[in-house]
Subunit: 356 residues, 2 copies
DNA sequence: CCCTCCTGCTCAACCGATGTAGCAAGAGGT
DNA sequence: ACCTCTTGCTACATCGGTTGAGCAGGAGGG
């Protein structure tokens, strides 16, 4: 019945279905389906028939068609996530952990990266909805509320991660608190090398996104505590490209006629540029500035002196996220997860202990 | 099966279907379907009806049910990829590029990471097949042929990336050539600091995987060219964990009673351990050894003196991969893509030019 | 012996989209 | 006036599972 093809039927063996199995076993498709999806006890199929069906399915290498199954059940057991980039450890660990936790709940995670492109975010969200995801997580989305609106229209639950929205529950880091603690630390560390009242620059990120603006707030608060005034020219939220960070610092140094003794860096990607500049510009000689980085990278930890990194607590964030997913209560609140300072590399491992 | 809740049916508005639209427009579901999937000209639907249908669909926020569509068409326009980890730039860029290229072909990419766990690889492959992927890419799989076999049984095309298999077409880096060139370079760079005939250690990876063994072969070939004998104790393929690399180097140094003047490092993850050891063990003082790393990380590039990194040519690999996907000819050959040395950080950018 | 209950299974109607077949109305040709 | 062709649409079966309803046969009770 497939098609009236004059094809010499080369390979294209049709996939085994429950109907094929039913014929093989001599039972009804219903029985096969019930056995294979585990509802057979409830449906009063005998253990012996169940055994025969299971065995035959295995022999035939039967694979359930989840498209058909999902269509009938009107849910897919698919959970979607959109993510901006795969070029840093933060999003990498979010995705790894998300997948593991989704699988533990018998959900199939589908993740797609949007290259920080707002149009692609929307397109990806729509595609995921078309694929009938039961739930969609927007991670670091530029316009989370837009995604929430699209999901709402389709009756799909949505949550925000990393960047908050106002219309869906959001789990984010305590950006203010993390930036405050980080700024305090590098202000203290660099105190003896700075003039009295001299502020440090903030570099990277987009002032328009919530996280960056909260971090700037924490950055300012720490300065204020220390009695330091921060003027606008110290805030260089020039985006996520490393070379923009370099240019901005170069310009700043030229204008001020002096080099910063400490720098607040707002992402590991910006950090690439910053560290390149401090190392290879020749400006600093052997006295590298203190660097505080909001986000963590293990190679930076190993290779940089005078660096402090704030690590976002990905496990805790995802625990919180899945608590919201498990409880299907869509109260659109904001969960802020505390950050912590990244530990010394290899602290407490056999490797360090052994290196006497 | 969630729970027997006395829920007051709060929101859960059913999703709009072509039947709903058909009623609204006063046309048949067939017409709606034809208009929305673009076959309406062929089906001789009038432009005016098409216009009305399109408008109504938009107003109602209609989203196609790809589960139903895929079921009927017997293909999903889904393309699957399994990937070991998200903790390095190599796999990150593979995934980013794969997604972009898949989307350019109107395929929806679904990617899942398997944490280098062979059982999870198999499970993930099966799940993807159940979701009816049209094609499955096994990236860095520990047992690619097993996955190919599973795909074959289900009539799904499969390809290997990064690690080759014998039963499906494979696209990988020229590991031998890359390792040969890299080893030559660090042997040359460290020549004046090594005793005559002194080999350097190879650290990281698994000797059982094809890539590592090819790299070892290239590593040995470069030594042989230089008239240096490499005994087994210099090959430290201790896996991908950074702390294992540290331990192995520590043991090696103790046994030989001297420090290596150059090191071949087989992944950026092992590099974390290696650089930690060279920096903080105190062994090296200010004379860091020459490091050659098979794989690239931008922070390592910026922060390490005397490092040479081999970068795998991800764009070229994915071009080759998609050529195989586009041509549906499954000849199980091996494409080896040349690698190159990573360029100087920010070379040729405004950033460098500006930093006078 | 009749009635009820339980066991073990099957039937048929879906889920939403799509491809094939076909029908009614009007245009155009002879 | 009759036939053919085109236009613009609809009806229906189908993809592969799932699910509520229901049926046959045997056990058990009165």
């Amino acid at each position: 019945m497939t098609t009236p093809r004059p094809k010499p039927a080369p390979t294209r063996a049709r996939r085994t279905t429950i109907y094929d199995l039913a014929v093989l076993v001599g039972a009804s498709p219903t029985a096969v389906s019930a056995v294979l999806n585990g509802t057979w006890k409830k449906r009063r199929i005998s253990a012996s028939l169940a055994e025969r069906i299971t065995r035959t399915a295995e022999e035939q290498g039967y694979a359930l068609n989840l498209q058909a199954s999902g269509l009938r059940r009107e849910k897919s057991r698919l959970i979607g996530m959109i993510v901006p980039k795969y070029d840093n450890r933060y999003f990498g660990s979010i995705v790894e952990r998300f997948e593991a936790m989704a699988r533990a709940r018998e959900l199939f995670p589908i993740i797609t990266c949007t290259m920080r492109d707002p149009a692609l975010e929307i397109q990806a969200a729509r595609e995921m909805i078309s694929h009938q995801v039961d739930c969609l997580i927007a991670t670091g989305a530029t316009d989370p509320d837009r995604i929430t609106a699209i999901c709402e229209a389709a009756g799909v639950r949505s949550l925000n991660l990393d960047l908050p929205g106002s219309r869906a529950p959001s789990v984010i880091s305590d950006n203010f608190g993390g930036a405050l603690a980080l700024t305090r630390r590098i202000l203290a560390a660099s105190a003896s090398q700075r003039h009295r009242g001299e502020p440090i620059p903030f570099i990277g990120g987009r002032a328009s996104d919530h996280n960056t603006s909260e971090r700037i707030r924490g950055f300012r608060a720490a300065h204020e505590e220390a009695g330091i005034i921060v003027d606008e020219t110290m805030i260089l939220a020039t985006g996520y490209a490393p070379d923009r960070a370099i240019t901005a610092l170069e310009v700043l140094a030229k204008r001020r006629g002096q080099l910063p003794r400490a720098i607040f860096v707002n992402s590991t990607i910006a950090l690439e540029g910053v560290l390149h500049w401090t190392r290879s510009s020749g400006h600093f000689g052997s006295v590298a500035p203190h660097v505080g980085c909001f986000d963590w990278d293990p190679l930076a930890a190993v290779l940089t002196e005078n660096i402090v990194m704030v690590q976002q607590d990905v496990p805790a964030m995802l625990e919180a996220l899945f608590r919201l997913i498990d409880a299907d209560d869509p109260a659109p609140g904001l969960s802020e997860i505390p950050t912590h300072f990244a530990p010394q590399p290899f602290a407490g491992t056999a490797a360090t202990a052994g290196a006497d």
